[in-house]
């Protein structure tokens, strides 16, 4: 006996129908296919999103990145949630989704990825996870953060990012043009600038380390990583219109076929999400228009002129009034000026970081950096972080001051050599 007798019966019945009407099969096939396509279009995203979660196998989760120490990496417990906002991928498969959470810095952060069973993750494709085709859950990591004082939702105005269809943003088998630019140009350039500054300051020990770092990144820059094919890249567009937003329209004057209208909901603070094939460079004239009650149209992009009132659209509460801060009286701690750009003084507080400013001329005050946490009661030497090129244009002698959260700790006068 068969394990699935109903399937056996259905197949035999189907075989009988095929035998009985061989000539009509093609027509019928066409009709059914047309109907299926029409149904698929009519059902749209919901059907795809539901079905997409059925067959994906789950692999090991994506390992969390090393902790950067940033406050954005520290998550307020209980604030993480995957919003019920989905966007279809141009190539099908599990839909894209948005996760929001609050960082300890106070900012709201957003993370995008593919959604399977309500979880945010990446797919093993485009070189990620050896193309195992499985779903890998993502750790909670900030992809974009933002917020406005007094606004209790992520007031992020539609960041766009290029990533592969896998949603895995770490470099794998290929890279985007932007990643390549960062790797080959921006990173080595910033390290070279830091090295130059250290050499000018005579910080030889730090410069030795910096040279090794530069050598490593130059090797990395010389590595050949192929560019990802456009078909594998995704421009993930998202943002939040606030609770009173009505809809978002995405258009591109150079692509008449591109016109997407996304309704938004107050329950998700007006969150929207859309995924295009390619990178943001492929859509330089993309326009986003945000519609609010009363005919207010805001937005961004090529040729979009937001209406007056978009600085604070409906649903965005006014910022809380600033509290008047009373600055305690100045301490006038004696500060000794050393040779070069350095000072020495006794910290009045334990483990306190102080802000150092230098008056370059009557109109320009230069932030000379923050000190390390200084111990109380004994003299500490503090090196000023001031670009020598800039310092060369400042008047002599250089006067400056040390402040502790606005409170004046003491003043000093430097006599650097020309």
């Amino acid at each position: 006996m068969s394990r699935l007798p109903q399937l056996q019966r259905a197949l035999v019945a189907a075989a009988e129908r095929v035998e009985a009407a061989p000539a009509r099969t093609t027509l019928r096939r066409r009709r059914v296919r047309t109907l299926a396509i029409a149904l698929a279009v009519a059902l749209g995203l919901a059907g795809v999103a539901y079905a997409a979660t059925q067959l994906i196998e789950t692999g090991e989760p994506v390992p969390p990145p090393p902790h950067s120490g940033s406050l954005l990496d520290r998550i307020v417990p209980g604030t993480t949630r995957v919003l019920p906002v989905r966007a279809a991928d141009p190539d099908g498969g599990p839909p894209w989704g948005l996760r929001v959470f609050r960082a300890k810095s106070g900012a709201f952060c957003v993370q995008t990825g593919r959604v399977v069973n309500g979880k945010l993750g990446v797919l093993g494709q485009d070189g990620a996870f050896h193309n195992d085709g499985r779903f890998h859950e993502l750790p909670v990591v900030a992809e974009g953060c933002g917020g406005r004082p007094g606004v209790n939702f992520p007031a992020i105005d539609g960041a766009a990012n290029a990533q592969t269809a896998s949603a895995y943003s770490y470099r794998v088998a290929c890279e985007t043009r932007h990643d390549r630019y960062l790797r080959r140009v921006v990173t080595p350039r910033s390290i070279r600038a830091a090295l130059r500054l250290q050499l000018r300051r005579g910080e030889r020990a730090a410069a030795r380390v910096e040279r090794r770092v530069l050598a490593r990144f130059e090797r990395e820059a010389a590595r050949h990583i192929p560019l990802c094919p456009t078909r594998d890249l995704r421009d993930v567009i998202y943002g939040f219109l606030g609770p009173e937003g009505q809809r978002v329209e995405l258009t591109d004057p150079t692509r008449p076929a591109l016109r997407v209208v996304l309704p938004v909901s107050a329950a998700t603070a007006g969150a929207y999400l859309h995924v295009l094939r390619g990178s943001p460079r492929d859509y330089p004239r993309l326009q986003r228009r945000y519609f609010y009650p009363g005919g207010l149209v805001c937005g961004r992009g090529f040729g979009v002129h937001p209406d007056r009132g978009c600085a604070r659209p409906p649903g965005f509460p006014p910022p809380p009034a600033k509290r008047r801060v009373r600055i305690p009286p100045a301490l006038h701690v004696p500060i000794q000026a050393l040779r070069g750009y350095a000072i020495r003084y006794v910290s009045p507080f334990a483990n306190r970081r102080y802000q150092v400013f230098v008056q370059c001329n009557r109109h320009l005050t230069v932030d000379a950096g923050q000190t390390r946490p200084l111990p109380a009661g004994r003299p500490s030497t503090v090196r000023l972080h001031i670009d020598p090129t800039l310092a060369a244009h400042c008047q002599r002698p250089l006067s400056g001051e040390v402040r502790d959260r606005g409170r004046l700790v003491g003043r000093f006068v430097l006599h650097p050599r020309q």
């Binding site: 068969s2 394990r3 699935l4 109903q6 399937l7 056996q8 019966r9 259905a10 197949l11 035999v12 019945a13 189907a14 075989a15 009988e16 129908r17 095929v18 035998e19 019928r28 096939r29 059914v32 296919r33 299926a36 795809v48 079905a51 997409a52 979660t53 059925q54 067959l55 994906i56 196998e57 099908g92 498969g93 599990p94 050896h130 195992d132 085709g133």
Partner: protein, 178 residues
């Protein structure tokens, strides 16, 4: 009692013959999909789609190119790959043939689940992890040794050795069964 016709004759025959062909290969298909998906519902759906495609394409089957079972497994692998790629079970052939969705009872699911306890599968589960992965990927997944070496992050020679040892152990265990 007459001798049962072979697969080629069944595929060339009428609707009832296709029913026999289905019954003959049903277990193999269900076990194949059950092993790959771990879900009896999905295994049933994928099996239905595979046989629907086989029904549509049975007149194009060419016995000189290989056995009917191999042809059927080829369709099964294609259906599974397409379904994984699209993230949902393919159902185009069933739509075309007017075969409705399966409604599975607990008894049906239990009967499919029985296939998970096949002796070969149980013996496979008993292999050391390295050998099990290698045998599964090579024999069930039909991956090339080179691809398998990349996936398991080892050399091709080591993969070949693991598959060979795994199969030898499996054979020995199955032969020892009463």
């Amino acid at each position: 009692m007459g001798r049962l016709p072979d697969d080629n004759a069944l595929l060339a025959g009428g609707p009832a013959d296709f029913g026999i062909f289905y019954a003959r290969h049903e277990d193999a298909m269900l076990a194949f999909f059950l092993r790959r998906t771990g879900s009896p519902e999905l295994a049933a759906d994928l099996t239905a789609e595979t046989f629907a495609r086989a029904l549509e394409g049975r007149r194009r089957f060419d016995a000189t190119l290989g056995a009917a079972q191999a042809w059927l497994f080829g369709i099964a692998r294609h259906v599974l790959a397409r379904s994984l790629e699209r993230g949902r079970v393919e159902d185009e052939a069933r739509h075309r043939l007017g075969i409705g969705p399966l409604s599975l009872s607990d008894d049906d699911l239990a009967r499919i689940d029985e296939l998970a306890g096949e002796p070969a599968l149980a013996a496979l589960a008993g292999l050391p992890d390295e050998q099990r992965q290698a045998v599964e990927a090579r024999v069930v997944g039909e991956l090339e040794y080179a691809e398998l070496a990349v996936r398991l992050q080892t050399s091709e020679a080591v993969v070949r050795q693991r598959v060979s040892r795994g199969l030898r152990t499996l054979r020995a265990r199955l032969e020892r069964r009463p």
